[in-house]
C-alpha cells in the first residue's frame, strides 16, 4: 500500500499557480525525494498533505485515508520538519518539546532525552536565545519524538553544520531502518542523492519525472566529450537520446540516455583524437530537466 498517494493534485492561490496535476506515490518504507527549484511547489504539496491548505482539485491520501477528512488521525503518525522553524516565544526547549509531546497519546520523555542527546541540544535554553541551526535541531527532535511512521522533511538541512547534517542523516536512516517512510523535499541534490531510493522532480508546479535514484545516478546517462581530427558534419549527433549537445567544429559534448551502441556506432565512423565517457553528476541531469 502506498503511504502517500496524490492524484491530479492541483492548487491555485487565486490565479497564481501552486501545483498542477501532481501524481506521486510513496511506498511504505522507502525514502522518497522530492526535488525542484525554489517556488516549484514542493512546500505547497507538503502543506496540502498536512491539510494546512486545501487542494483546488485532485485527491491526496496518507495511509490510504483522505488527508482532509482524516487529518487529525493521520497526523498521529506523521513527523514533520518545516523548512523554516518558528516557535512560541518565551518557551524553553524542554517546555516546547513537552508541549509537542502532549499532542500524542504516548510517553515521549525517554525519546526527548535520547534525541536531544544525539542532536546535542540544550534542553534548558530559551528558544529565543537559540541560533537558527539550533532551532532547526529542536525542529528535528520535535518531529521525531513520537516515533512517527511517516516523516516529512521540507528542506531539512538548511542552517545545520556539516557535522549535524551527518548526524541528522544517520538519524533519518535509523528511523527508516526501523520502518518509517521518509518524504524529503529539497533543492540540494547531494542531499537527495545520499538518502533517497526514488525521486520525483517538480518544476513549475508539475511533476516532470519520477525515477529510481539508482537509475538516475548510474547507467542511463553518460556524459560524452570528444575531439575529432576533422570538423564534425552538422547535425551529426542528431539522434534520439542525446541532450545538452554542444558542438564546436572539432569538439562535441553531450549527455546520452539510451542504448549506448547507437552512439558508439556513430563514433566508430569518426576519426577521433580524444574521447571521454563519464558518469554525469546529478546536477547536470537535473539542470537538463529544469530547462
Amino acid at each position: 500500500m502506498a503511504v502517500i498517494e496524490t492524484k491530479k493534485l492541483t492548487k491555485y492561490y487565486g490565479k497564481d499557480r501552486g501545483i498542477i496535476d501532481v501524481d506521486i506515490s510513496v511506498d511504505e518504507g522507502e525514502i522518497y525525494g522530492f526535488i525542484g527549484p525554489n517556488g516549484a511547489g514542493k512546500s505547497t504539496t507538503i502543506r496540502i498533505l498536512l491539510s494546512l491548505i486545501y487542494a483546488s482539485s485532485g485527491t491526496a491520501t496518507i495511509f490510504g485515508k483522505d488527508v482532509v477528512e482524516y487529518g487529525p488521525e493521520i497526523k498521529k503518525e506523521i513527523g514533520y520538519l518545516p523548512s523554516e522553524v518558528f516557535y512560541y516565544d518565551n518557551m524553553r526547549v524542554k517546555e516546547l518539546l513537552e508541549y509537542s509531546a502532549s499532542f500524542y497519546k504516548k510517553d515521549c520523555s525517554k525519546r526527548i532525552k535520547e534525541l536531544s542527546e544525539i542532536m546535542d541540544l540544550d534542553l534548558g535554553k530559551k528558544i529565543d536565545d537559540l541560533s537558527y541551526g539550533n532551532k532547526k535541531k529542536v525542529g528535528i527532535v520535535q518531529g521525531l519524538i513520537h516515533e512517527p511512521k511517516l516523516i516529512i522533511l521540507d528542506e531539512p538541512t538548511g542552517g545545520l553544520d556539516p557535522l549535524m547534517q551527518q548526524k541528522f542523516f544517520e538519524l533519518v536512516h535509523e528511523e527508516n531502518r526501523k520502518g518509517a517512510t521518509i518524504f524529503l523535499s529539497s533543492h540540494i541534490l547531494s542531499e537527495v542523492q545520499r538518502l533517497c531510493d526514488r525521486v520525483a522532480i517538480i518544476k513549475d508546479g508539475k511533476i516532470i519525472q519520477v525515477e529510481k535514484m539508482s537509475d538516475l545516478a548510474n547507467s542511463n546517462y553518460s556524459q560524452f566529450k570528444l575531439t575529432t581530427t576533422t570538423p564534425l558534419p552538422t547535425g551529426y549527433f542528431d539522434i534520439p537520446g542525446i541532450s545538452d549537445l554542444e558542438t564546436n567544429s572539432t569538439h562535441a559534448s553531450f549527455l546520452f540516455k539510451g542504448n549506448i551502441n547507437t552512439v558508439t556506432k556513430k563514433l566508430a565512423e569518426l576519426d577521433l583524437l580524444s574521447l571521454f565517457v563519464e558518469e554525469p553528476d546529478l546536477e547536470e541531469i537535473f539542470l537538463h530537466y529544469y530547462e
Partner: protein, 265 residues
C-alpha cells in the same frame, strides 16, 4: 486540553494588565466622584451647563450625577469600551497568533483538528474575558457602594455588569469571526476594531441626533446603554435576544470559516 492551557498561559500576562487597568479605572472614577461630593460643589449644576453634544460625547446623558450610580453610569461607558477592545482583540488574537507568529506548521502538523483548535482557543479566551468581568464586577460593587450615600444600588451595578459580560461575549465572537473569515491574519484586528469604533460612534451620534433611531439595533453600545438599564433596573430583553443571536451567529461563522480557509504558513 493542552492547547487550552497553553493559551491561558500565553495570555496570562496581558490579562493581569487588563485587570489592573479595569480595577484602576473603577477605583479612580469613583474616587473622583467622592472628591466632587466632598467639595460641596453642586455637581448637577456644573454638568447641567455642559452642551448636549459634549455631554453625549462624554456619555453624560439623562443621568443624575449627584448620585453614585449616576456617576457610575458615565464610568460604565469607558468600562464597556475598554472591555470591548479587550474582548475583540483577544478574539482576533487567539485565532491569528499562530499565523502571525508562524507557528501554524508546528500546531497543525499535530493531531489536532481545526475545530478542536478553535474550541481550545475560544475557551481560553472565554476564561480571560470572564476573569476581566469578575474583576470589574467586584471592583465596581466595592467602590460604588463605598461612595454611595443613597439607597443601595448593588443590584443595578450587577445588572450593568451582566450587560458588560454580554457585550464582552459579543465582541469576543466578533474578533474570532474576523480572524476566521479574513484571509490575511494581519487585517483581522483592524477589521474588528473598525466594527468596534464604528458602532461606538454610531451610538454617540444617536445620542446627539433624533434621526435614524433604528440604528440602535445595530450598535452593541446601545444594547447596553447604562442610563436606560439603570432607569429600567433591568436589561431590555430585545437587546439580550439580539446580542445572543449575533454572538451565536458569529461563533458559528468562526467555526465554519476557520475550518474551510487555507492557513497562512
Amino acid at each position: 486540553m493542552n492547547v487550552f492551557w497553553h493559551e491561558l498561559k500565553a495570555h496570562r500576562k496581558g490579562l493581569i494588565w487588563w485587570s489592573l487597568g479595569m480595577f484602576l479605572m473603577v477605583y479612580s472614577g469613583m474616587a473622583k466622584y467622592g472628591a466632587y461630593k466632598a467639595s460641596s460643589v453642586d455637581v448637577t449644576k456644573v454638568f447641567g451647563a455642559i452642551p448636549k453634544v459634549v455631554k453625549a460625547v462624554l456619555g453624560m446623558r439623562d443621568v443624575d450625577l449627584s448620585t453614585a450610580i449616576g456617576f457610575f453610569v458615565i464610568l460604565f461607558i469607558y468600562l464597556i469600551v475598554m472591555a470591548a477592545i479587550h474582548a475583540s482583540l483577544l478574539g482576533a488574537g487567539v485565532l491569528t497568533e499562530e499565523e502571525l507568529d508562524r507557528t501554524t506548521e508546528f500546531l497543525f502538523a499535530k493531531p489536532i483538528s481545526r475545530v478542536q483548535a478553535v474550541i481550545a482557543k475560544t475557551s481560553a479566551a472565554l476564561v480571560a474575558v470572564t476573569t476581566l468581568n469578575v474583576v470589574t464586577t467586584v471592583s465596581s460593587v466595592v467602590f460604588v457602594s463605598a461612595y454611595n450615600k443613597d439607597a443601595p444600588v448593588t443590584r443595578e451595578v450587577l445588572i450593568l455588569m451582566g450587560g458588560l459580560y454580554l457585550a464582552q461575549l459579543l465582541f469576543l465572537s466578533a474578533g474570532l469571526a474576523a480572524a476566521a473569515i479574513v484571509q490575511n491574519p494581519k487585517r483581522a484586528a483592524a477589521v474588528v476594531s473598525a466594527y468596534l469604533f464604528g458602532t461606538y460612534f454610531i451610538s454617540l451620534w444617536l445620542d446627539i441626533t433624533e434621526k435614524a433611531q433604528w440604528l440602535k439595533y445595530l450598535t452593541p453600545f446601545k444594547y447596553f446603554d447604562a442610563a436606560a438599564i439603570v432607569k429600567a433596573s433591568s436589561l431590555d430583553p430585545v437587546y439580550i435576544a439580539i446580542s445572543a443571536i449575533l454572538t451565536t451567529v458569529l461563533i458559528v461563522l468562526t467555526f465554519v470559516f476557520y475550518q474551510r480557509r487555507d492557513l497562512n504558513v
